[in-house]
Symmetry: C2
Amino acid sequence: MAATSDSARPARRSERSRRATLDAVFDLTVRRGYAAVTVEAIAAAAGVGKPTIYRWWPSKGALALEAISDRVGGVLDFPDTGDIAADLTSQITALVTLLNSGFGTVYRGVIAEAQGDPDLAAALRDTVVEPRSRVCQDRLAKAVAEGQLRGDVPVRVMVELLYAPVYYRFLLGTDPLSPRQVPGQVEAVLAGLRPPA
Amino acid sequence: MAATSDSARPARRSERSRRATLDAVFDLTVRRGYAAVTVEAIAAAAGVGKPTIYRWWPSKGALALEAISDRVGGVLDFPDTGDIAADLTSQITALVTLLNSGFGTVYRGVIAEAQGDPDLAAALRDTVVEPRSRVCQDRLAKAVAEGQLRGDVPVRVMVELLYAPVYYRFLLGTDPLSPRQVPGQVEAVLAGLRPPA
């Protein structure tokens, strides 16, 4: 994210302040819930000024989005062991574990905020949802090419069949998936995505 | 929803005031977006007192949830023509059409609010998500019994495969489904749910 400044000298975004701010929004949200956290409280906890925060991020939602993108790191990288069922199970298990942790509290807040903030919704799509969907689509396309999955269902549709139920249960008030339910869930979806015998 | 009162006489919930309040929350949310609508504005638009609103509903979220439950009426009833593909297509098309209308703006606000309000999340699950899921599960179970769908995928999982992608695209910032995409989407899911030939 480019730093912007209305002063004559370019704003120099200190990495230490950036890190402290991202940690503050994450930790405060996990402790208090997204709605209860103010930019004032984030600024105070991070030891930075509120104007500094608004110079770097347009909104609390944008800040929380960067905090989660930043935390995910390589945890959700897509494995490729050659066995698509095993790889999907391990990747979705990692996602479910993350959603059931403090990370899920922050992510939930970002998704909620995005419902009323089109800029944040676009940033969520462009920085989180679409890039991860594309990585998964690539892995699925390889499995199609290897004959492990049927070729007549678009890989984008396959991604939604695999991941949408995770979000559905995360967001719609029903019981979230637990990691131990993931293998059965993946198997139920793959039952329909394997090539006819 | 039972009326509660802290006065000695039971509060009599006037149907006209209830209707005016539900219409106000719906119309104001469609016009201004959920976050911008206050209970004060709802009370003013409905011509009722704010204390009256809080006597009937615990929160703006609960009020908006009742407004959407109330509006859905029979629009999302599950048809049974004997052809499961046709019935799913027509029911999901009705849902998608509703989500793309003003109704979607209000529903989106309720889902967002539920992320930080466990009582509202439970009410959303118990009054909207689960009852509709059960109706769909019953229709799917009939199709399984008739040999139109495979018997080795639980009907609850089938419901998620069919509906979760609709919500995924509605909530995660990607393009929402359009009614004309529904037949293809249903067909892609059913490809995996039909009994092996």
